[in-house]
């Protein structure tokens, strides 16, 4: 059964909406700022922060600020509404939602907890009520008119890619007729400090796949795509032709030197689509900018593609690493690469990693023959997922 993509929606540090994001990618204008301006933190580290506070997001969505939604939910609603905008909703009976997040309503929990740890009777309960991951899913469904089966996944930074996989399964098993899949994550002091404590945040703008890379920059945002069975769709953007979820089983937070999980995920996704690896025209890499991830992913590229690694790039130099949302945002970019013949530039690249000598795409390309795009998302816990889109 063929699964097709019929809608896309995105919000990131580059701005709200697919067109805004693509325009920034075309212009080579990164969304990474020198330090957070909205997030309450003492760290002056570069981040990909959306320049709109929660009150402004409520207003943009025409949702009363009294609803007091978490930032993860607000970003998610923005992206899901856009994804469903151009889609014909008259035909499908059951519209589902597979969402994902790693921090959930942590932005509100942080406010709550500051008071709570001093006095257990203090802290506003409405700041604690959206803490869990499913809270954002429920709210997204509510404000986007989604009434069918819905679920929530959390597999760290591979979350949204797994949401895409589960969405495809739900269509194949006739549990839904249309499904919105992806992920959303807001910046939080929790994650910024978490990655800081792991010493994998770069104090400068991140440089994925560069020899001098020194870590990632955190970002925030949401990315969702709409999936349907091909026979049910009046028109579509592209096919979801392959996907795979494998585990690196090497270390809790680090990737194996040989890129075992990444290699297996990419190889399985390519095999499922029934194509040869050299048919891949562009890879939107996970490419976080950490020394470990990019070396491991490069090793996996060489294992699968040999000497002819397809044109690849990481777009995290523009958006920052948006954790659970990354696989959704990058799925949107991948789908648009197919639609318009784009290949995105890998921001801040100058020198290839000596051990692999792989050079990513460095200038935004358009009008290319892009028929097959692979998108990688890897996370803590060894989770490695790859998604393959074809025309």
């Amino acid at each position: 059964m063929a699964i097709v993509v019929t809608g896309v929606g995105v919000v990131s540090a580059l701005g709200v909406g697919v067109e805004r994001n693509l325009a920034s990618l075309r212009e080579g204008a990164s969304g990474i700022s020198a330090h957070p301006t909205l997030l309450k933190t003492g760290h002056r580290l570069p981040v990909g922060e959306l320049a709109m506070c929660n009150e402004e997001l409520h207003e943009l969505l025409a949702i009363s600020p009294r609803e007091h939604l978490s930032r993860t939910a607000l970003l998610g609603i923005l992206a899901v509404r856009e994804a469903l905008e151009g889609v014909d909703r008259s035909n499908p009976k059951r519209i589902g939602l597979v969402s994902s997040t790693s921090v959930g309503g942590m932005d509100l929990t942080e406010h709550f907890f500051e008071r709570f740890i001093e006095d257990e009777g203090a802290g506003r309960l409405r700041d604690a009520r959206m803490h869990d991951c499913a809270a954002s899913t429920d709210v997204i469904a509510k404000y986007c008119g989604i009434e069918g089966y819905r679920t929530t996944l959390s597999t760290a930074c591979s979350s949204a890619a797994n949401a895409i996989i589960i969405g495809a399964k739900l269509l194949k098993h006739n549990i839904v007729d249309m499904v919105v899949v992806g992920g959303s994550d807001a910046l939080s002091a929790f994650t910024l400090n978490g990655f800081k404590s792991l010493m994998i945040l770069d104090e400068k703008p991140c440089r994925p796949f560069d020899e001098t890379r020194a870590g990632l920059n955190l970002g925030e945002g949401a990315g969702y795509i709409v999936l349907q069975r091909e026979e049910d769709a009046s028109n579509y953007i592209c096919h979801l032709a392959g996907y795979a979820n494998r585990n690196d089983a090497h270390h809790q937070t680090a990737s194996s030197a040989e890129g075992d999980g990444a290699y297996m995920a990419m190889a399985d996704a390519v095999a499922m689509a029934g194509i040869e690896p050299n048919a891949v025209d562009y890879i939107n890499a996970h490419g976080t900018g950490t020394p470990n991830n990019d070396a491991s992913e490069s090793a996996a590229f060489v294992r699968l593609f040999g000497q002819s690694v397809p044109p690849f790039s990481s777009t995290k130099g523009y958006t920052g690493h948006t954790l659970a949302a990354a696989g959704g945002i990058e799925a949107v970019f991948s789908v648009m690469a197919l639609k318009h013949g784009y290949r995105y530039a890998n921001h801040n690249f100058s020198e290839p990693i000596a051990a692999y000598n792989l050079k990513p795409v460095t200038q935004f390309e358009e009008g290319r023959e892009v028929k097959c795009v692979l998108s990688n998302s890897f996370g803590f816990g060894g989770n490695c997922s790859s998604i393959l889109f074809t025309r």
Binding site: S197, L198, M199, H251, Q252, T253, A254
Partner: protein, 84 residues
Amino acid sequence: MEQLIQELKEHLIEELNLEEITPEDIDAEAPLFGEGLGLDSIDALEIILILEKYYGVKLANSAEAKPVFYSVKTLAEYISANRK
């Protein structure tokens, strides 16, 4: 130095949550990582914190860290050379 080594061992056991290990069980000259105590990269991050928290010693970079992190003894030597 002996006192510093003893103190370091206690911090390691406490902060790394080493089960059923007493300071006497730790050979000050044995490797901390891989063999010996079998510590890993997450422990390395915690040891960096121990150095900073208890001794005000900051490690400049990871290249510098490797020989310093070899054993309890090398850690102690680095601390006494760099502590303020």
